[in-house]
């Protein structure tokens, strides 16, 4: 057995090496700690906290804590027993005294329409209740809706602390009050259409961007620096302009009475009473989004093409390949890293696009992110909005995972 190697200060070399290594690792970690903390606090944590809302209903569960316990035991086959109605009565009374009944009214309204006015009408008459009488009868006297078992079932389900029903809604399914899961009525289906449309637009825009960006990037890479820089500025200039300004400019151009249509009419391609509808539909969304996202495709492609030796192509041709074959077999494969980087960038940005479709898309160009915004701003159903946002986030992660499996993330080059 050979003697272990020691350093000059008598320590085992392997131990010393490990120490040095771990110290170096600690320093490296310390250096990235601020960034890590920043990402955790400003990014991961808020996202996580937001996503919790999609299943979290603890606020309602706490506001009606006693009712939640007794109503859980009720089987829901017939109108609830006195134990439930009396508990609900006393809790509602407390809520009214604290002016919190409005909150449960809006929350219960998500479960079943008509609850807002039901709670309010009941609240107005609650002080006339005879606390020795039958509560269910008195509830039904105040409003006939209390005789409809679905409102009590909605109360039961609306006071559960956690539930995943928002995720069902995200895909146009609903849980009936008897527990079965069904597709929602055809006239109300919207989300699946929008998911498919969003994916279609994201893929389509990525393709359009690729087709437009490839020649531009090639030109940029092939031109002498002087001209290339000028062209680069042309590519980047819209990049520095506000998104809103660019979208509004497209509106000016694309309107039926807009610049583009005026030109087409004046040169006689289009009849005046038959102007092209380029806006408030999918065409508008495609045109504007492609233009706005184009730089994200051009830049990675350019940076990759710049590194490809022109001599490779010359070598291929000199060895008897046709220029097209040389391009297909030599040049094109070498640009894969740029293509994949650009595509994933454009796709991920496009899948969450929001302002442009809202402005130029009209009703036919609306995407899922507009729907999320709608639930955040207008309907105030934040649970549903976050469920949709969660699904969108997962979709992007899946795309990333697939990309990593197929292409390998190490192959991506941004420059």
């Amino acid at each position: 057995m050979s003697e272990a190697i020691r350093t000059s200060d008598g320590e085992l070399l392997s131990v010393k090496l490990k120490k040095v290594e771990s110290r170096r690792r600690a320093t490296a970690f310390l250096l990235v700690t601020p960034l890590l903390l920043f990402i955790l606090i400003a990014y991961i944590f808020p996202i996580f906290q937001m996503l919790i809302r999609s299943v979290d209903n603890t606020e309602m569960n706490q506001l009606l804590s006693k009712t939640a316990i007794v109503i859980e035991k009720w089987d829901g086959k017939e109108l609830p027993p006195e134990e439930v109605t009396s508990t609900f009565y006393y809790e509602l009374k407390d809520l009214i005294a604290n002016k919190k009944h409005g909150k449960i009214a809006t929350r219960l309204n998500y479960e079943k329409g008509g609850f807002t006015s039901l709670i309010k009408k009941t609240a107005r008459k609650l002080d006339k209740f005879d606390e020795n009488g039958n509560f269910l009868d008195q509830f039904m006297d105040v409003h006939k809706r209390w005789a409809d078992i679905e409102y009590w079932l909605a109360l039961k389900r609306g006071t559960q602390a956690f539930h995943g029903r928002k995720y069902l809604t995200t895909f146009d399914y609903e849980q009936k009050f008897d527990g079965s899961i069904e597709k929602i009525p055809e006239k109300k289906r919207i989300n699946v259409t929008l998911w498919l449309r969003t994916i279609f637009v994201a893929v389509g825009v990525t393709l359009c961007c690729f087709i437009l960006a490839y020649p531009i990037a090639h030109l940029l890479a092939a031109l002498p620096t002087r001209y290339a820089n000028l062209l680069m500025i042309c590519v980047l200039l819209p990049f520095w302009t506000s998104l809103l300004v660019r979208t509004s400019s497209w509106m000016v151009l694309l309107q039926t009475q807009g610049v583009l249509n005026d030109i087409l009419v004046s040169i006689g391609i289009v009849a005046d009473d038959n102007r092209l509808e380029l806006m408030y539909n999918m065409t508008g969304t495609f045109i504007a989004m492609t233009q706005i996202l184009l730089p994200f495709m051009v830049l990675p492609l350019y940076s990759v093409m710049k590194t490809i030796q022109p001599s490779l192509m010359r070598a291929a041709v000199s060895m008897g390949s046709t220029p097209f074959n040389a391009f297909r077999k030599i040049y094109f494969p070498l640009t894969y890293p740029g293509i994949s980087a650009g595509s994933i960038l454009v796709f991920v940005l496009a899948i969450g696009y929001y302002i442009t479709p809202a402005l130029v898309g009209g009703s036919k160009g609306v995407l899922i992110s507009n729907r999320i915004a709608y639930h955040m701003q207008k309907s105030l159903d934040w649970g549903l909005a976050t469920a949709m946002a969660g699904v969108l986030l997962i979709a992007v992660l899946v795309v990333y995972w697939l990309y990593n499996r197929i292409v390998g993330i190490d192959n991506m080059r941004l420059g």
Binding site: Q49, G113, G114, K187, T193, G362, Q377, K378, S379, W382
Partner: protein, 371 residues
Amino acid sequence: MLKLTKIISLAAVFLAPSLATAAEVNVVSWGGAYTESQKLGYGDPYAEKSGVAVNWIDYSGGLGEVKAQVESGAITWDIIDVYARDTIIGCDEGLFVEFDFDNDFPAGVNGMPASEDFFAPMPSKCAVGNILYSWNYAYNTDVYQWNAPSTIADFFDADKYKGVRSLYANAMSNLEIALVADGVAAADVYDYMEENGIDRALDKITELCEHPDGGCIFWSAGAQPPEQLVSGEATMATGWNGRHFNAIVNEGSPMKMVWDGQILDYEYFVLVKGGPNQEEAMKALQYFTSSEGLAGSAKHIAYAPFRISSLDIINADEPWFNSPTAGAVRIMPHMPTAPANTKNYILMNPEFYADNNTEINDAWEAWKANL
């Protein structure tokens, strides 16, 4: 986790523009000619009188933003101009201050207490009345030179009146006029929808939107309908009567309003609970909604002030409207409440929308996406 939330909220508070050292009040409204009328009518006069700066912020409705502000603790809005429906929902959610009406708001110049001087009851305890306005439609007079539409049914008649219509992007207002155009009595529309749902209304609108000579686009900001009419994007557009009036009188646009089947609707102010300057904001709000404050905004837009005493002020001093281009104009005949304009009208029912919000909006949005 709760603690962390607090720390983050606290950080947000500090990061938020904390320049509110000098007294100022942030008022949020619908922009365009309407905000301008509020600014000229009572915002600027109040700022001059009190030395408190009044900042006007534009939005296009909805409580999402203020809810986010309240939940994060970084509130920047003091006063918001909202639909009746949103005063109900926001009050229920606890976002707004509840008023003690007669104590909080001054009596009218006629001596009547505020609760009587405002000519309709408030939809919630958090609301103070501002204006009465109308959802009516206007058409481009260059397009319909020889056959001018005159009823709400004409708006939906694409056989006789060819051209693209512009509709409000949400269900509100569209369902009502569709039903009236389809033969439901104006007074019965909400009962009808409560009983039978909104399918009939949607069918009527679908018919218009899919008509080869018709078609629909949508507007979401009040300034859009007149713009769309002038640019030719639409030939008829629903909208808020003050915006139409502004385009016709102040800008001389080739447009005309149709009052048949108009929807009378109230608009309110609310005070955000825990806003940056709640006390100053309350004082400002008292001035805004005083007899002279409300009358002041009617100098610049054709919306009826909510106070009887304000209407008296205007009546005593006609021509009251002050157009920058057309000079003084008699405003009372152009108010949504003028007798000639109220021969066939619908009265907006905010309870209906507060109650059936989810159902109606889901159905409407799905309908729109599949159009």
